[in-house]
């Protein structure tokens, strides 16, 4: 019964990336069609979009800097999702990580420079992890769906941030709602002078490699993948799936927390303000979906979304095309990628049907187990 399966594996491996690239192409095409429909020259819009993102060294640096938190959030999603936990609370965990990291930066004075930054980042990670841990615990011990709890905890985090920048953490003597200025000892050093790009770019790339390696080459990664692929089989094989799933969510939250802390500690404003995490959390999920949950693919996906955002500003300035149009691009890309998942699965189930006659293409009725 050996069939030429390897060629089909190769082609099925290519379906995913092809779909992502096609999704981006269609997303861009739709956006430029709208621009043309509005009577603006699409060619010039494209030029403006590109110039805004990569036109100068400074702009390119800003685009790369903008992609870093997206990559971290995407990694967070990927880790949770490898155990099939859906963490839509990355935004909230980012915010909490930002707040706790800022606290460490502001209220733990006297630590020498590189250490202070490390401590603040670590506290940010822990903050995000604990915040995600609440949802993980509710899921494991109380059966609360983690999608609902993490989503709702985003709002709590937003309110918390809103409160701390107005109340306990508000910088004295200033009118705007923001924290005091982060001491230099806790700030990311610039990589390129007078640009938002810091040396954390190396850390982020390193983390991408680490997560990719962890998932494939460690026992923890194996446990995550087993739990995600078939929780019952994993349990029968002796994996403690409940704690693995909780850990997946907490690592995920920790990565988001790091992203949040990094935004404050590496931001150009050098303060924590109310909008510091705006939309990074959700956009990071889009990055992960576009990357089809592959850690390395998150880098180009994040760069793409960051450049759309970054370039959208110049497009608006030059042509008066609203920068929000880039959200249309994002939306179409998202729809395409998520929609195509079903198509890819369908293609797969047909193959299954051929391979083994007794497979069921759909979900098999599974006996409820008394636990």
């Amino acid at each position: 019964m050996s069939r030429p399966a390897s060629s089909r594996v190769a082609s099925s491996r290519l379906i995913g990336p092809a779909v992502s690239i096609l999704a981006v192409a269609v997303g861009l095409a739709v956006s430029f069609a709208i621009i043309a429909f509005n009577g603006d020259p699409p060619g010039e819009a494209a030029e403006a979009l590109f110039d805004g993102a990569f036109g100068s060294k400074k702009q390119a640096a800003a685009t790369v800097a903008r992609s870093l938190p997206l990559i971290l959030v995407a990694l967070g999603w990927i880790v949770a999702f490898s155990a099939r936990r859906i963490n839509v609370g990355l935004e909230g965990q980012m915010i909490v990580g930002g707040i706790t990291g800022t606290c460490a930066a502001l209220y733990l004075p006297g630590i020498p420079a590189p250490l202070h930054l490390l401590v603040a980042l670590l506290v940010g990670i822990v903050g995000g992890a604990i915040y995600a841990g609440i949802a993980a615990g509710l899921w494991a011990w109380r059966g609360v769906n983690e999608i609902v709890s993490t989503l709702l905890m985003n709002f709590i985090a937003l309110q918390l941030l809103s409160w701390v920048v107005r109340g306990p953490m508000k910088a004295p003597g200033v009118r705007s709602n923001r924290s005091a200025i982060i001491p230099d000892s806790a700030q990311w050093p610039n990589l390129i002078e007078k640009s938002p790009l810091n040396i954390d770019v190396f850390m982020v790339v390193g983390l991408v490699a680490t997560v990719a390696w962890m998932l494939r080459h460690t026992t923890f990664g194996m446990r995550l993948r087993l739990t995600g692929a078939n929780v019952e089989a994993a349990r029968a094989a002796g994996v403690r799936t409940l704690s693995i799933s909780m850990m997946a969510l907490m690592v995920s939250g920790g990565l988001a927390g790091l992203a949040g802390a990094g935004l404050v500690l590496g931001g150009e404003t050098e303060v924590m303000s109310e909008g510091f995490a705006s939309s990074f959390g959700l956009e990071g999920i889009v990055v992960a979906l576009l990357a089809l949950n592959a850690p390395y693919a998150a880098i180009p996906a994040a760069l793409l979304l960051a450049s759309l955002r970054q370039g959208g500003g110049l497009m608006e300035a030059r042509l008066g095309v609203p920068a929000e149009l880039t959200l249309v691009t994002q939306g179409v890309v998202l729809l395409f990628v998520t929609g195509s998942a079903a198509v890819v699965r369908r293609a797969r189930s047909i193959r299954i049907d051929v391979d083994g006659g007794e497979h069921e293409p759909a979900v098999e009725p599974r006996e409820e187990v008394v636990t």
């Binding site: 060629s7 026992t219 391979d355």
Partner: protein, 530 residues
């Protein structure tokens, strides 16, 4: 009997040639004719120029190993898949099936191996679900229920139309499925492995229903692996292999050796020699295990021993507590009461990890549920249970080289037909998936093997392999608990046979002295059944 008339006229509706006659003349157009059906999926020919005829009043057996193309063919007949080439004729008229709705309206129906009923709804509601509603859905339920009662009385298919499906026994669910087809006025009825969930006695009853249905001029396609059953009831048998029809022979005069050879393409050994018992110490001791949920007792006071070098078979109709027993034994579920002792060891099986550490191995009944993780590759599946041991990992980092060479060895040792360990398991056939499970579980030299339905859904060749492995384990002095719904399997392998009924272990018999009918009666609950 107005409804009966309705039923009869319904049989003919939509068919140009009118109501089918019982015992048609040989030259009459067949009820269903498939000619030259070809279906290609990317890279694979699932069906190549398949032609099959089913006459009214006929029971046609369809045989073939997994992957032979039976499923694809039946998916084509029921409108799920469209063929690339070939024609489907009903009563001599060519039809085009665009979807399952078309097939159903033309009177083609199928009882799937995994029943397609909504468990939380009543039987009548399930039947109503499949109808094209012109009025608000479910407003027809009382009428349907009445009709179902008539049909069910007529064929002796006793099911309460108002019972919710999850309260029904497996056999009753199957009857409900058949009722649904009859209510939809199916003329061509396809049964995919209908006997795997039945006691021998239930099968006798079902086979009578088959004959009644055929006598009315319906045609039945009966897919099975069990050659004996097929020979007992079918008029003709069609055998498929590698997407093609190998041949169609009359059942009268055929024997199982011929059919099996046609299926597999080589001679098959049916008699598996049962190695003599060299019973050693007690390896697995189960004392008074009970399990219950809020409203149901699942296991009641189960006690037995399995010795080294012995196979204890536990038979019973599906759903009498066997699954729960396996879950308790393997540490997935903790029993409310009782003890499970391995080799007199102090430690108890409280988690699946403890089960493995104490020398246990399990072939789970639901391969896709617990056996393999289909979306992972073969290597992950082979390593699932012992990747964390110091042999295969070092401080949490997997030793890729050791793991890869072990996987290469297992693939050749257990004859897993795969191009390599990087292949995803859902691209393997059922037999190779089961070999993957066997390789993983047997390679760590377990002292106690729990084999639950180890050959379910496997083809003849793979069954042979599984039996050899289990007997090999026995020869090496391992203890085996075999849990099976198939009596033949239990009699082939087991040294002693216990029967489970409603969560109780009724009796343990010596396999050499027990008879099939004796065990069959116990499976039906013997005294309670009457």
């Amino acid at each position: 009997m107005a409804d009966t008339d309705d039923q009869r006229s319904g049989l003919g509706s939509g068919v140009p040639t009118g109501a089918p006659e019982p015992d048609p003349a040989p030259d009459a157009a067949p009820l269903l004719r498939l000619s030259g059906i070809t279906k290609t999926f990317p890279g694979v020919v699932a069906n190549r120029d398949v032609s099959i005829e089913l006459h009214a009043g006929e029971i046609l057996g369809l045989l073939g190993e997994n992957g032979a193309g039976k499923s694809t063919l039946m998916n084509i007949v029921t409108g799920l898949v469209r063929p690339d080439a070939g024609a489907i004729e009903l009563n001599g008229q060519q039809v085009h099936l665009r979807n399952t709705q078309d097939a159903r309206q033309l009177g083609i129906g199928m009882v799937h191996q995994h029943f397609m009923l909504v468990p939380t709804m009543t039987v009548a509601e399930n039947v109503a679900l499949g109808m094209q509603a012109r009025r608000p859905p479910m407003s027809d339920v009382p009428r349907i229920a009445d009709e179902l009662r008539d049909v069910s009385a007529r064929y002796g298919l006793l099911v309460d139309p108002y019972a919710t499906v999850d309260s029904l026994s497996v056999g009753a669910r199957q009857r409900a499925e058949i009722l649904r087809l009859l209510h939809h006025r199916a003329k061509v009825l396809i049964f995919d492995e209908p006997t795997s969930v039945l006691t021998p006695q239930e099968w006798v009853h079902l086979s009578e229903v088959f004959r009644d249905l055929a006598a009315e001029g319906r045609g039945i396609i009966f897919i099975t692996h069990k050659l004996d059953e097929l020979l007992g009831i079918a008029d003709r048998c069609t055998v498929m292999r590698d997407g093609e029809v190998v041949g169609t022979i009359p059942a009268a005069g055929a024997d199982r050796q011929t059919l099996a050879t046609m299926m597999v393409g080589r001679e098959v050994v049916f008699r598996v020699e049962r190695p003599p018992v060299k019973a050693g110490d007690v390896a697995l001791e189960v004392r008074g295990v009970s399990l219950e949920t809020q409203d149901r007792r699942l296991l009641t006071d189960i006690s037995f021993d399995v010795h080294e070098g012995e196979i204890l078979g536990i038979v019973g109709v599906d759903g009498n507590g066997q699954s729960e027993l396996v879950q308790v034994l393997t540490g997935l579920v903790s029993a409310d009461d009782g003890e499970i002792v391995f080799h007199g060891d102090e430690r108890r099986v409280v988690t699946p990890r403890a089960f493995i550490d104490l020398g246990g191995a399990v072939i789970p009944e639901d391969r896709h549920g617990r056996g393999v993780a289909t979306e992972l590759d073969l290597r992950d599946n082979l390593m699932m249970a012992d990747f964390a041991t110091s042999e295969y990992s070092y401080h949490g980092v997997l030793r890729a080289a050791v793991i890869n060479s072990r996987c290469d060895r297992l693939i050749s040792q257990y004859d897993i037909r795969a191009p390599g360990w990087h292949i995803r398991v859902d691209q393997l056939s059922g037999g190779n998936q089961q070999k993957t499970v066997l390789a993983r579980e047997m390679d760590r030299q377990p002292s106690v093997l729990i084999a639950a339905q180890p050959t379910r859904g496997l083809d003849v060749g793979a069954v042979e392999f599984v039996y050899q492995q289990i007997n090999e384990h026995k020869r090496n002095g391992g203890a085996t608990l075999l849990i099976s719904t198939e009596l033949e399997e239990a009699f082939t392998l087991a040294d002693r046979i216990g029967v489970m009924f409603r969560g109780q272990l009724l009796r343990i018999l010596d396999a050499d002295e027990a008879t099939v009918s004796e065990v069959g009666l116990l499976m039906a609950g013997e005294e309670t059944a009457a």
